[in-house]
Amino acid sequence: MKKLLKFIQKIEPDKEKSKLLHTIYDGLYTLVFSPNTTTKGGVHIRDGADLKRTMFFVVIAMQLAYLFGAFNIGHQHFLALGQYTEVLDGWHLKLIHGFIKLLPIFIISNVIGLGVEFVYAARRGHPIQEGYLVSGALIPLIMPPDIPLWMLTVAIIFAVIIGKEAFGGTGMNVFNVALLTRVFLFFAYPTYISGDSVWVSGLEGNVGEVYGWAHSLFDGLFGALGWEQFGAGGRQVVDSFTGATPLGLATHGGWSAVTEVYSTSDMWWGFIPGSIGETSKPFILIGALFLLVTKIASWRIMLSMLIGAALTALMMNGIGEPGSFAAVPWYYQFYMGSFFFAMVFMATDPVTAASTPKGKWIYGFLIGMIGMMIRVFNPAYPEGWMLAILFMNVFAPLIDYFILDSHIKKRLKRAK
């Protein structure tokens, strides 16, 4: 290990000669090696964690969602073809198909995002900031599996430059970068990120033709092992398969239309079409537990968002006509869509959320309320959390301002 460290320190590029190279070197170096010191002296916190490691914990918490997301891409794909309809049938094919879909999105997300970041860091002469680690890992999870990569590229460049670098980089952004990416795609190319047909990979046209060289590569391997293979493809989508998400169904037919197609346990475990990482509730909640134990995410925001959404759904149960979306039992609202994903990974973003404890309660509660209202009452958008969180990002500084102001006034009164 020491020899490796010495070797790496030896190849450090000259800062004067090549700014960009040095910035890249520095970014990768600190990712793996520092810090090796803990705080000493008269402080009470002795910890080896810094911003980079904090960010990394969030990425670790997402790993189960990644794994399940990849599997579910494949599972939905084969469901559409009417093959391997049992969950574990042909699991290796499902997993490989998922990874073949997921990996390019992941690579594009990180290469483009970090590329922009590297260029800015080099030009502005500061070390690479690590904030993009989390955004780069979140973005693939909130995309549909077949999103064209050039669109993703455009959206990421927009979000990183306008949403983050313009504000001064990591820790300064007012709006959540991952959400900006998605919202940009949503408003710029709506047909690729909403509707019924985008959430299952390979739903359009003749499925077999989309199998590429990567699939045939694995076919060779699976053939040698004697497992099932992708085969030549050329299959048609089963007639009864629509690819509609539970939310899409609920908008038109209420809860009964949802349960006709999906069972509640499928929805809970996540075997439903949707954005790549949002479907599996238990795995996201395990990530949430991890974040809460390591005290990285705020439990106040999570709890208040849950309360806000539950109360709003409960009220809507009161006024909704039977059979409408508003009348879906409030606890089943959480089975559909991306509530838990938004709650755990998006709303708790410490940079864009309110930062006072009281403010966090208000912030989370209002997200829960507004998100549920957008989901049910806005016919234009099937899901509301992305826009609700962005909406509250606007008001988070204001909430903090008034909370601080009231504290100052209280203290002043006491001083008199």
Partner: protein
């Protein structure tokens, strides 16, 4: 009553003057450097909108329309009369603010009298005409759109206070970043666009 509430919610959040129509941008960008002054200006705008729109409704209904007092179609006088009403109301606000809070009066400076030509105010009156509201509805609309504008300006003021110490690239500092924030805020408000409050309350 619920219908008035619907109009209030719609004009405050869904069809926000500042962030959906981008009206009243000049004072919105110029006075949003600190929450305190933005708060004062926002209150003034609520007041002016809430008063002028119903008054303009009365003028339009009883003086200008063919069915009104003079029996001839005088609607071509709309702009002049509306602006006159707005200007006199702003004068009133100015006098009250100068008397009640000289510090706020000084920090608002020229932008307080400039509310007169704030396009959100005249825009409010003209929207009221084109949406064919009645008296009570136009009052709710005035208060609602004023409240929406007020929310927008204090929100951007808080954001600008928050990023005051951020490392914003030099060419973007000041107004440049304010324009970017406004655009992004507009994007966030698009989430509410398309909601019909009537569908919630069932009226």
């Amino acid at each position: 009553m619920i219908e008035l509430l619907n109009i209030f919610i719609k004009s405050a959040f869904i069809e926000n003057m500042a962030l959906a129509y981008f009206l009243g941008m000049c004072s919105y960008l110029a006075v949003s450097k600190s929450v305190k002054t933005a708060f004062g200006l926002g209150l003034a705008v609520i007041f002016v909108l809430g008063i002028t729109i119903p008054i303009n409704w009365l003028i339009n209904e009883y003086l200008l329309k063919e069915t009104g007092m003079f029996g001839i179609d005088l609607t071509f006088l709309r702009f002049i009369l509306f602006i006159a009403v707005i200007a006199s109301m702003v004068q009133l606000v100015e006098m009250v603010v100068e008397k009640a809070s000289p510090s706020l009066y000084n920090s608002l400076g020229i932008f307080l009298p400039l509310i007169t030509v704030n396009c959100a105010i005249l825009g409010g009156s003209l929207f009221m005409i084109s949406k064919e509201y009645n008296f009570a509805q136009s009052f709710a609309f005035g208060i609602g759109s004023g409240f929406g504008w007020f929310l927008a300006i204090i929100a951007i003021a808080a954001i600008r206070e928050k990023i005051r110490y951020s490392d914003v690239p030099a060419p973007l500092r000041g107004l440049g970043i304010a324009f970017l924030i406004t655009g992004l805020m507009g994007m966030a408000f698009m989430g509410l666009m398309g909601i019909d409050p009537a569908s919630i309350t069932g009226h």
